[in-house]
Structure formats: C-alpha cells, structure tokens
Chain length 152, copies 2
C-alpha cells in the first residue's frame, strides 16, 4: 500500500491549469456573446490582441500564437470573411501580406479587450489584485519553462 490515506491533492496541478484555462475561454466567449458578438470562435478571439490597425504579417502572428502559418492563414481567412480584417500586399516584400484590422475589427478588438479586463476583474475580486498579477507572471514563466523542458 503506497497510499493508505488519500492525500487530497498530489499531482493535480496540470488538471487544475487545464480546467481553469477552459473555464476562462468559455467565460470569455459568453461575455463576448453577451456583447452582441456571436459568430466568433475562441481561436479567432485569441488572435485579436495580436492584430493592429497598421497591419501585421501572418508569419509574425504565427510566431506569437505559436501555431503554423497554415493555421494562421485559415484563421485570417475566417476573420476576413467576417470583415474584421483585410489583407493587403506588403509593399516592401512581394511575397508577404499585411493583415490589417478593419473599422469593424477595431470595434471587435476593443470588445475583446473589455471582456478580458472584465474576467480579470472577476479574478481580482476573488483573489486580490496582487495575487492575480503574480499568478499571471508565474503562468508566463511556467509556460516558457515548460517549452524549454520538453524532454527532447
């Protein structure tokens, strides 16, 4: 008998993290829908903070979002179909494109930022501001660390 008494927690860190992440995504989407933005998906929303009225390269997006260029290509097409972004040729490089927020897109981006802030304020109300900010910083460090550790 390795564990005669059940030791409550033990190694439930990863499950907790994943559950919190999912809950966060669901809450964020609900928030956004409540603001009138239906037809959005989590992946599309996740791109909004990376976009810009001045335009960004798809490749830059793919690096920041840590997904393939193809994945970004698909998401950008979806955003374009919903008229939240437009794609233009990059005048400095014939191969490249520039993805730029439309006016509609700027409005959406603001709504996304507002939703994120609201969720953060919910967390702060529960856990306290300093704790949440520390938590945020710890999560970032943890993500960086885990990517390095990746048992290569």
């Amino acid at each position: 008998m390795k564990k005669p008494k059940k030791e409550k927690n033990e190694d439930d860190f990863a499950p907790a993290l994943i559950a919190a992440s999912r809950a966060m995504v669901a809450a964020g989407m609900a928030e956004l829908i409540a603001c009138g933005f239906d037809s959005m998906t989590p992946a599309l929303v996740s791109l909004m903070p990376l976009l810009d009225k001045d335009g960004v390269r798809p490749t830059a997006l793919s690096q920041q979002a840590r997904v393939t260029k193809q994945a970004i290509g698909q998401l950008v097409r979806e955003l374009e179909a919903r008229v939240y972004v437009e794609q233009l040729p990059d005048s400095t490089d014939t191969r490249a494109k520039i993805v730029r927020l439309t006016k509609r897109g700027v409005v959406l981006q603001a709504a996304c930022a507002k939703a994120r802030r609201k969720l953060q304020s919910v967390a702060i109300a529960k856990l306290g501001k300093s704790k949440v900010l520390r938590l945020q910083q710890d999560l970032i460090e943890l993500a960086v660390l885990l990517e390095k550790t990746r048992t290569r």
Copy 2:
C-alpha cells in the same frame, strides 16, 4: 489618446493562462511519449486520473470531465480499442456500463501520474513548492468562480 504609454501588461491574464495550459499539455504528452506511450492523445490522457481498476460509470466521467456523455463515449471507445479499459454491464442497472482499467491501463495510469508529478516538480523547482500549491488552489477556485459567473 487613452493610453499614451503602453502599460506593459494590462489584461493579459487570460492569454497567459491559455498559453500555460497549452504548454503544459504539450510537455505532458512529450513526457509520456518519452516513456514509450505513443498513440495517446491529450483527451485520452486527461481521462486517466478519473479511471479506476474497480470501474466507473461513463456518466460520472462526463460530469467530472465536464463534457457530454457522447464525448466520453467516444474517448472510452478509443481507450478500449487500445486495450487500456474494458466495458462491462453494470449489474445494479441494466442501462448502465462500467468502465474499468485493464492491467495495461493501470500501467498507463501510473505513467500518466508520474508524468504529471514530474511536470509539477519542474514547476516547483522554478517557483517554489508553496507557490505552486497555492497557484494550484487558486486555479481551482478561479475555475469554479468563472463557471458561476458565466454571464447568463
């Protein structure tokens, strides 16, 4: 000009949480593959801590995992195809099934637990034990809170 200076962070809590969660999943899968368990997927792995040598009801799994019964049904079928679980009729209820770990499944479960513990130890090495445990608790509270808040 609402924000003349860029205030570094602001509302990056949700993105940080999601990124950390993804990194955790990726690291966990890499760990498991390194232990010789290929052919697993994140969703299947996430079910392992909920399973049991004595057997559990699919419905119970679906409640704990917070997904539909159909989703559990699919995942259990996959685990069964890989011979990590077997399904038996529940003698106390003709409608119900019992999902039970096979010997192979018990071994896998142990490997999953080990991988989770390893990742947790990585986090502890970076952030400190008390901090990680507090983080874990905070994440659980946060998830509960967010599910209640869901802007109904």
